[in-house]
Symmetry: C2
Amino acid sequence: MNEKVDTKARILDAAEKLFGERGFESTSLRDITAEAQVNLAAVNYHFQSKDSLIDAVVARRIEPINRLRLGMLDAAGPNPTLEQILRAFLLPVLELKRDAVMPLLGRTLSDPHQFVEKVYKKHLLAISERIHRELAKALPGLPVAELRWRLYFAAGVMTYILSWSKVLPDISGGLCDPSDRQALIDRVIDFLAAGFRAPVNEPAFERVLLEKEG
Amino acid sequence: MNEKVDTKARILDAAEKLFGERGFESTSLRDITAEAQVNLAAVNYHFQSKDSLIDAVVARRIEPINRLRLGMLDAAGPNPTLEQILRAFLLPVLELKRDAVMPLLGRTLSDPHQFVEKVYKKHLLAISERIHRELAKALPGLPVAELRWRLYFAAGVMTYILSWSKVLPDISGGLCDPSDRQALIDRVIDFLAAGFRAPVNEPAFERVLLEKEG
DNA sequence: GTCTATAGGTTGATAGAC
DNA sequence: GTCTATCAACCTATAGAC
């Protein structure tokens, strides 16, 4: 509890911005305190270490997204359609208001280093299982391995949009503008829904069955 | 020209491995020379700087992939099918033999920092334009902005597979095994081809037309 | 809670002997 | 071409005054 414009929040905001722009390793605590206009030692006072700061920055954004996702799934009733599930998965991420959040999440979901333990198992495993279960109900004919693969493909599309949202208009010659969030969400859902509904190819399907039998 | 097992190549191999495992920033030149069992100063002798080393490591893998892609497109004749185009795009990347290359390319294609200039415009712009042109021929009814978006979605799926290939069996409980390359390639192509062929949603389509008119 | 000062370690790069 | 030795710059983290 402090009179000044909360130092702790200023650090989180600055760290979020710079982590997203330059990556976690390339951003020093000095970069962050300079951006936030606070003293260097304030980081280690409010957070214990750079690693804990990264945890706090990531958790602050991922947890509300997951609550929104669960809320949308619950609101869709016991048997949501494929489109409803995909919307619950994507909309809370692709509708984010603050410009700094999408690059941050892009970095977070792209870095395989220790994020399997620190991000996936901590923040994404539960929601991933829930979405997998809903998808299995909505697509009863799809083999479970195929479903799992396609969910990863969908996560890949989402992550790529997050990572490149800032530069996409530039490298597409203005053709792709992610700022119209609703249009983008509709586009992605149409694309992914068609992919999820694609017929399962015979050779690949047979190979899965053979693998199961040994 | 040297008698010993080429120091320069040893550095490239070690750098490729460690860059892929830990990322470019997290890997020091000392890490690389220790892994390669060469002297620290050898890096600055054979390559001028860490940045140039990164360039060399990336270029060594991307350029042959692009040549393979162009060869497959040329071999498919003047009007390749959607599946042929996707196969030319994906197979040279997903069929890579050396384990270290996929994580390296995953890092390379995920890091937005300065890679728009150093990787995209240098190594990916030309092949991206060629694939875009072939896709436009194969899908004549699709608006150009929609096509561009869907090509980015496809790149996102490919990049995600590269980034997570090492941990995918672990976090999927063994359901997803990227080691069967041919099955994976078939899976991805089926998924993406269906996405590319998805009907264009009216609202999104109209919005694009309205934007063009101002 | 906020600051200065600094410890203690790592980094990329190079000079110069062999 | 390969090595040792070293520099100057940077890093995270902390101790201690206010």
